[in-house]
Symmetry: none
Subunit: 260 residues, 2 copies
């Protein structure tokens, strides 16, 4: 049992953990949870909403039920990787369908692309180029040919970014490049770090096909730095949350899309 002996106010992640624990395998009402956590029902509702977004539980009228996938004890605290985990999983699965044995592909940073990396053991003789240390770690023992872009290490995303990636990037020929992003709008993709944007654009210019993996939560969001126009991409893989309006925009730019 997670206890909070000292009765200081709980932080959001703690509350979320307690909610999930309280749910166990069953059902809890809003008022029960509010009483247990000593917060208002409004706050419980807000927490439940984000947890549902994350795929950790399912809301029902009056409360919530747990969708226990067996081994989900850990994900409480590192939300970044598990945000919208279900959508990302499905998106990665759909992207996998675009890859054939013998392909030479590029993997960008980001958790959605990382989910794709985990699935690559079902293909053979790939040449995988990447700037993501997480993806590289995943593929170390895969048997595929693995090439890392060199460059400056960016701790937050665990990727190699910036101008130093360009000499090696320019030496490579890439068939299909799979990108993640922070924000996606009609004017293109954007990301937080200039170095990251630089490297994205570099690879965008060298790949025969550029495929963007982005859950619908990314659509409509913008970040600091522009990292490529919509026209630069040949395909977007997203989930069913994408608005029809945005899909219309994609058509206008001749970007195919796959709803996973």
């Amino acid at each position: 049992m997670i206890s909070h002996g000292n009765n200081r106010k709980l932080l959001t992640p703690e509350r979320e953990a307690l909610i999930l624990e309280a749910l166990g395998n069953g059902v809890r009402t809003i008022s029960e949870l509010a009483a247990t956590l000593q917060v208002s029902e409004a706050t419980v509702r807000r927490d439940l909403r984000t947890l549902e977004q994350r795929g950790a539980l399912q809301r029902v009228h009056g409360g919530a039920v747990r969708v226990d996938d067996g081994e989900k004890r850990e994900p409480l605290f590192h939300e970044k990787t598990t945000l919208r985990a279900d959508e990302k999983e499905r998106i990665a699965e759909a992207a996998l369908g675009l890859i054939e044995d013998g392909d030479s592909i590029y993997l960008d940073g980001g958790s959605t692309v990382l989910a794709l990396a985990r699935k690559l053991s079902s293909r053979h003789e790939l040449t995988v180029v990447t700037n993501s240390l997480m993806a590289a770690a995943e593929l170390m023992e895969s048997g595929h040919k693995l090439i890392l872009l060199g460059g400056e290490f960016r701790p937050l995303s665990r990727t190699l970014v910036g101008p130093l990636t360009s000499p090696i990037g320019e030496a490579l020929h890439i068939g299909k490049a799979f990108f993640g992003t922070i924000g996606l709008t009609a004017s293109g993709v954007s990301t937080t770090d200039p170095g990251e944007a630089f490297t994205k654009k570099l690879i965008l210019g060298r790949a025969e096909q550029a495929i963007l993996l982005a859950d619908s939560g990314k659509i409509g969001r913008t970040s600091l730095v522009d990292a490529g126009k919509l026209d630069d991409f040949s395909c977007l893989v997203t989930d069913s949350g994408a608005s029809p309006d945005f899909l219309k925009i994609l058509k206008k730019h001749r970007v195919e899309f796959i709803i996973a």
Copy 2:
């Protein structure tokens, strides 16, 4: 639990270490941390900001949570059990003495050099260039500037090797380069993989000082590919098992040596 018996003021890195320790696997509020460390909340916020930048934790409103350590390090870290661990440890310690704050250094692959990488937290503001994924994983959260050589991944040594390392290698200026090796004789160092030899020679040509870390077991052994002459190195760090005869050869080639 945290304690810092003597009540002198803590230095920033000490505070950061204590914050990480306090977080353990859980979550702490700003005010808790401020009370524990006896500094203002503003300072805690600043520390948390840099630690988040460094990827060591994640901030939430009101405090911070630890980004689970176990999962991120494990995959990169499965290391073959090191032979002659004691010697390697001492050699690494001696090599550490050659590094000063602000230096720009290169770390090659191999377990001895990896041992050196683990000690680098006692230095500040280093620029570390490496072709070793093990070393990179070790230094991810160190706060040092980290640059990876790009290139083809060699699973056995977990390093990046071959011709693709040359464009980026040629763009860098390196002060002190630390190398490992398989074999070391009067005619120079040798290694098993041609790609690895290529990259060693590349960096050898670009570093102001080349320092070889090799336990005495390596002396007298040869491997497949030549990877540099004795004259290319300015210093060898080894253990007391090195034969006087070989030390005489070193002197003739004007290679300094340190017996750790």
